[in-house]
């Protein structure tokens, strides 16, 4: 490592950013432990004199547990679809010499540029005609489809870095594409696969527009919509709302605490190399 004197400018800057990041988080946390009148009286910055867990209990009883479950189901399904479909796709893109494959790759590159808003109107009618309106499957399918382009891009990047020698060695041994895929490509793309797992999981967890347009009842509501409705319903209370925000991030926070390295590495992978 380079030797250098302490960098005061960087130190100061990092503390300012810590304040910017930390202050709203602090406001959020302390608000959730106060009753509504206390929060209104104390203001957002004062440390509460009287702690209560009522906001969390109230939220969990008002349907957030269900929204939670729905979000988990959507996330698991989306990740499942992506992990099942994208690796063979990326493998083909990297190894196949066919013209069709090139076209498919171009298609997915184009997909990068299709914002999900752009197709929301026909998507509604497609899902509705398929009888999947207000059904979690109707949210899962488009969400997975729209997570695929970036995942394909990430994974092809990783698979391209497998040295051609290795493929050739296996081909010499007479290995079939299937064998090469399972024995060589998958094991060597581990980092890429964790990246696409993280990426597609975040996409699904944070999904907003598809559930907003494609579902309506409480039984199919996901957390992000729960937060939105909470805010727009008459008679909302800020501490209760913020408690819901905290609840919505708890699972991700737990994953973060236990698998920080994998998550961070995974997201670094989004940027490629």
């Amino acid at each position: 490592m380079r030797r250098r004197r302490p960098n005061y400018f960087a130190g100061f800057g990092s503390l300012v950013w810590l304040l910017v990041v930390g202050l709203p988080l602090y406001v959020m946390l302390i608000a959730t432990f106060q009753s509504r009148p206390d929060y209104a009286a104390n203001g957002p910055l004062a440390f509460p004199g009287h702690f209560t867990l009522d906001n969390y209990i109230k939220d969990l009883n008002s349907g957030f547990a269900q929204y939670f479950l729905n979000t988990v189901v959507v996330t698991v399904c989306v990740v499942g679809i992506v992990v099942l479909l994208v690796p063979p796709l990326a493998y083909t893109i990297v190894r196949s010499r066919g013209r069709v494959t090139t076209t498919v790759f171009r298609l997915f590159l184009l997909g990068l540029a299709i914002p999900s808003q752009a197709v929301i109107v026909p998507m509604f009618f497609v899902i509705s005609e398929a009888g999947l309106y207000d059904n979690l499957i109707g949210v899962i399918l488009p969400t997975a489809a729209f997570a695929m382009p970036v995942c394909a891009l990430i994974l092809t990047g990783v698979m391209r870095d497998i040295t051609p020698d290795l493929y050739e060695a296996m081909t010499m041994d007479g290995a079939s594409p299937r064998r090469i895929f399972f024995r060589l490509v998958l094991p060597l793309s581990r980092s890429g696969i964790s990246t696409i797992v993280v990426f597609s999981a975040l996409q699904a967890w944070n999904g907003f527009l598809f559930p907003l347009v494609l579902t309506q009842s409480a039984e199919t509501k996901v957390i992000t919509l729960g937060l939105y409705d909470f805010q727009t319903e008459h008679g909302v209370d800020t501490p209760g709302l913020l408690a819901a925000v905290v609840l919505s991030m708890l699972p991700v926070l737990i994953v973060y605490l236990f698998a920080r390295r994998a998550l961070v590495q995974g997201l670094m992978g989004v940027g490629g190399k």
Binding site: N135, R183, P187
Partner: protein, 432 residues
């Protein structure tokens, strides 16, 4: 190599397994076959409690079962229009009458209710006529009143008024004087949730009514766009400007919302003295600030404007909510039975119990059982006596007018649009 194979297997097997598990999990949530049911779609909020009871009562005796579906408030209108012509369309749905159902009538989706009324005259006769007529389109009835009426009233914080030596205003002059007195006291005279935009609209509705009378808006709605450029219209706009410029709303009203409790809390905590709001302000305050609602929450009719053509007894707001019926319902008979419950004693009492005010002729008998009898009586008498009750502009116009209307209102109010530009914007609205 061995370890690598295990990894591949885990990835593929795990993914496939979780996919199957969760897909079968979601599948379980899909609809069972809809044999003999009618779907009733309502605006999702606290009042759903009563609707649930009602559906249960109906299902006790009916062979065709009713199923209650809800869509949370903010998205109700948007969702309704997207599903109303699809497989997911309900049989009966909640609406505001007027422009909110006009496009559906035009598209031939709604069932005329006159045959129902012919069979059971009570479906019309048991409701106050001024209210019932809001859901009559081109001479045909398309809606039966449900829930209650929601006139807009001028609420106040009695304690703040007393401290400033101010009375609830009777006239525009009183209001301007009150604004000055309250400002001197360091209080924001009027709380306004401008961020939601529809609270701003209420000021326009009342001032146009008081100055030009209810006819001007009715003409504009019927397609006489020049009404917006009339001298009365300009006078009303002038009054609004006068009030805003007097600092009646403070300066940050566009960052305040009613829906996140911003403006009601200003009123309850004494940081503001007045709020012009629908009658639901009362139950909102009861819920969030029960002590304030009990002791200091006051209310009065909107003041008259000197020299104006509108009666002080005129009202604006949500005249009522309605149930309308889709033509393609398979069980019109069951629906007719369901609608009869809207004027039943049980329903009226249940609505009063949660603070709604049904506009049936039997309501008067049960006013004592209301959540707050005094407030219920005040409202009921006003609605009954009102020479005109104007449906909110955003509901009277077709849905497509709402966004440009809100934009123009907000921009005129905060001064980023002048009078001529505002008139131009209102003239450009798609009329009904």
């Amino acid at each position: 190599m061995k370890q690598r194979t295990r990894f591949s297997r885990t990835v593929v097997g795990g993914a496939a397994l979780s996919l199957m598990l969760s897909l079968s999990g979601c599948g379980a949530g899909s609809d069972a076959a809809d044999g003999d049911t009618i779907h009733v779609l309502v605006y999702g909020d606290a009042a759903n409690k009563v609707e649930k009871e009602l559906v249960a009562t109906f299902n006790e005796t009916s062979k065709v079962k009713a199923v209650l579906d809800t869509i949370p408030g903010a998205d109700y209108q948007a969702k309704l229009q997207t599903i109303i012509n699809s497989k997911q369309a309900p049989d009966v749905f909640f609406n505001w009458g007027g422009g909110s159902i006009k496009p559906f009538v035009d598209a031939g989706l709604l069932l005329p209710l006159d045959p129902f009324i012919a069979k059971d005259p009570g479906l019309k006769a048991k409701f106050l006529p001024s209210v019932f007529n809001s859901a009559v389109v081109d001479g045909t009835s398309y809606g039966i009143p449900m829930r209650g009426t929601q006139p807009v009233l001028l609420f106040n914080n009695g304690k703040v008024l007393k401290d400033a030596g101010v009375e609830p205003p009777e006239t525009w002059g009183d209001l301007l004087a009150a604004v000055e007195a309250l400002k001197a006291d360091g209080v924001t005279p009027i709380a306004l949730g401008g961020g939601d935009r529809w609270p701003t609209l209420m000021w326009f509705e009342y001032l146009y009514d008081r100055i030009a009378g209810p006819e001007l808006f009715r003409k504009a709605l019927d397609g006489d766009r020049e009404a917006w450029a009339s001298p009365d219209s300009r006078k009303a706009l002038g009054k609004i400007k006068e009030l805003v410029d007097a600092g009646a709303f403070g300066t940050n009203y566009d960052s305040v919302k009613f829906t996140d409790q911003g403006s009601p809390t200003l009123l309850a905590t004494g940081k503001a003295a007045f709020e012009l709001m629908g009658s639901w302000e009362y139950s909102t305050q009861q819920d969030a600030h029960p002590d304030f609602a009990k002791s200091d929450l006051g209310y009065s009719a909107f003041p008259s404007v000197e020299g104006g053509k509108g009666d002080r007894a005129n009202l604006v707001g949500n005249t009522n909510n309605f149930y309308s019926v889709l033509k393609k319902t398979k069980h019109p008979q069951a629906v007719a039975e369901f609608l009869k419950l809207m004027y039943s004693d049980q329903f009226v009492k249940a609505q009063l119990g949660i603070g709604n005010l049904p506009t049936t002729t039997n309501t008067e008998r049960f006013l004592d059982t209301a959540a707050s009898p005094e407030f219920a009586k005040f409202q009921y008498d006003m609605v009954k006596a009102a020479p005109a009750f104007q449906l909110s502009w955003d509901q009277a116009y077709p849905q497509s007018a709402a966004t440009p209307m809100y934009q123009a209102l907000q921009q005129f109010f905060n001064g980023s649009m002048d009078e001529d530009a505002f008139i131009e914007a209102m003239r450009a609205l798609p009329a009904s």
